[in-house]
Amino acid sequence: MDIDLITNILFAMVRTGTPLLLVALGELVCEKSGVLNLGQEGMMLMGAMAGFGVAFTTGNLWFGVAAGIFVGMLMSLLFGFLALNLNANQVASGLALTIFGAGLSAFMGSGFVGKPLSGMEAWVIPVLSDLPLIGKALFAQDPLVYLSFILFGAVFLVIYHSRPGLILKAVGESPESAVAVGLSVMRVRYLAVLFGGAMAGLAGAYLSLAYTPLWSDNMTAGRGWIALALVVFASWRVGRVLLGAYLFGAASIMHLVMQGLGVSVSSNLLATLPYLATILVLVLLSSNQARIKLFAPMSLGKPFHKTQ
């Protein structure tokens, strides 16, 4: 392989990993608060649809981005109402959110299928983007990729080096103790769920505005679910989410690598790779039960009744 090919693969890997990174960061924060939201796929679809729809109608890509984030948050409120207010089963509520999001986005987006949109252009940073190998991957991307770098740094700092991060983790580990020291479990969990929704909506908007500027039904193709597996892969640690997202990005662009090597395999078979990789990763990471127990937030997925 020549150096240009590797440069291009790294570039594509970051681009492809970005939506996964965004959703997984959101889900990580959500799970840190003790809430398991399986609705990422549905929120992403709504974000992608709303982002495309608004950008197409207004002609402004940034309005689309804002709409994606906003709609993702609205969707997460529905989940919050079911899972936090009504204490419904979190797994079922998340599934409901995904099924609802798939249906609603296909319904509302039916008028936008096949419509053209000139997507987000790259902001090529002079000098830095000329760095060998990594220059193109890190400094010749579209603005949402840079935003994902910033959000990654922000989540890292908040979780490991801030008071809100401590509160978040306290609520996820032991909501009873959090209440005892005067924290509002409900408020912290709602904020975490909202953040997860915003990130999923943003990830969806990235797909429909920058990655492949178009809208089609179910265009997220399971990325929301892969992000859930990523959080397990990362053992709930922020740095590993980044690593995992880009590794999955690499698994998704194997066709580029294959072409580079002159191998021809059916595109449908290659498309199974990210899903196979997800299963493989789950097998490798989950088989050690003690490890999962050690790192997963203690109250993950358990409803909390204030009166208890």
């Binding site: 319904f107 397990v232 449908n268 196979l276 789950l282």
Partner: protein, 362 residues
């Protein structure tokens, strides 16, 4: 006056039955609102969606055609959910049943053997079963989360199906369409009435429901499944072999979904196409919940879900509404169901402001 919520001393059985009906009612009201927002006559919209599709005998037979695969998938899923095994993979198991069943059926294009059809059906069921065995083994031996593995397997199955219809199973004389050749009569399910598409698969589906009901309510295995779902530590202390039960419910569920898939290609479709399923495996999740994981409930819920599929087609033809309206209705229905289930555990009371404090002290 204000609303007050009180936790019930025990779960309300009445509400467990009423909640699906209440959810359906709320979904219909939401649907009417949606038609109104779109500038359509709400009642006419509901009529087109829920009455018109089944207003003649052909419509009713089509209801059976659509309900059969959903019923099969949901029956299997209900058994899984009873055991607290979150199988989301009926869609993939259905597609694998269709794919492998078709691969075999295509070997018998010229055959007139009476064995061809039963063998194709069994092979399809076994394929679905094998596909469900993967998450079962991974859950039992590697502690993987079955929700995520079954979903990944859905996407993998879909891509394998696409690979097959674009490649090895493509009809050589099919003008390059991604479809298989049409199956010969020996591998087609017989129709129940001449001139209608309702086929033997519908009866198989009914049989499956009865079998599932007998297993669940009349056998020791069924008892073990229910205990495992209600309280896994109790099942553990009782000495039930948890892994074996997990494997059994997943295999049963996979076989049902596989049968649904192979019945579709040998039944109403008659060949392998990329759109074998419009999401039957996902709809079956809603059906399982809506039917309260009970065979009779699931039977009724699968008819409703089939009606939603037919209604969205009718809405598209008659009123020019997007086909996706059906998917939206399904999602809304599940949401309302989960919300209404709140009433099983809580009662809502109007409390007068002055007596509020006294009531909460009591």
């Amino acid at each position: 006056m204000s609303l007050s919520l009180q936790r019930r001393a025990q779960e309300s059985r009445l509400m467990a039955y009423c909640s699906p009906l209440l959810a359906l009612l709320l979904t219909l009201v939401t649907g009417a609102l949606l038609f109104w927002v779109q500038g359509r006559e709400p009642l006419q919209g509901l009529y087109t969606f829920f009455v018109l599709p089944v207003s003649d005998l052909y419509g009713l037979s089509e209801l059976g055609v659509k309900a059969a695969p959903i019923l099969l998938c949901a029956t299997g899923l209900a058994l899984c959910y009873r055991a607290n095994v979150w199988n989301i993979g009926a869609e993939g198991q259905l597609l694998m049943g269709a794919l492998i069943g078709s691969a075999l059926a295509l070997q018998w294009l010229g055959s007139e053997s009476g064995w061809a059809l039963p063998l194709v059906l069994v092979t399809g069921s076994l394929a679905g079963m094998a596909w469900a065995a993967i998450p079962a083994v991974l859950k039992n031996h590697f502690n993987t989360n079955e929700i995520l593995t079954t979903i990944m397997l859905n996407y993998i199955a879909l891509n394998l199906l696409l690979f097959a219809v674009h490649g090895p199973l493509k009809d050589p004389g099919g003008f390059n369409f991604p479809e298989s050749a049409l199956f010969s009569d020996s591998t087609l399910l017989p129709v129940l009435m001449e001139g209608y598409r309702l086929h033997l698969g519908a009866l198989l589906a009914l049989l499956a429901v009865v079998v599932a009901w007998v297993i669940l309510s009349r056998t020791f295995v069924g008892f073990q499944i229910r205990v495992l779902g209600l309280d896994s530590s109790a099942a553990h202390y009782a000495g039930f072999r948890e892994k074996k039960l997990v494997m059994m419910v997943l295999l049963f569920s996979g076989a049902m979904a596989g049968l649904a898939g192979v019945s579709e290609v040998t039944g109403p479709i008659g060949q392998l196409v990329p759109t074998v399923s419009p999401g039957y495996g996902y709809s079956a999740i809603i059906v399982a919940f809506l039917g309260r994981l009970h065979p009779v409930g699931i039977f009724l819920a699968s008819l409703l879900m089939a009606l939603v599929y037919m209604g969205s087609e009718m809405g598209q033809i008659e009123m020019g509404l997007p086909l996706a309206l059906g998917g939206l209705f399904q999602g809304v229905l599940l949401f309302f169901l989960l919300a209404c289930d709140f009433l099983i555990l809580y009662r809502v009371r109007w409390v007068r402001a002055g007596r509020d404090a006294a009531a909460s002290e009591a």
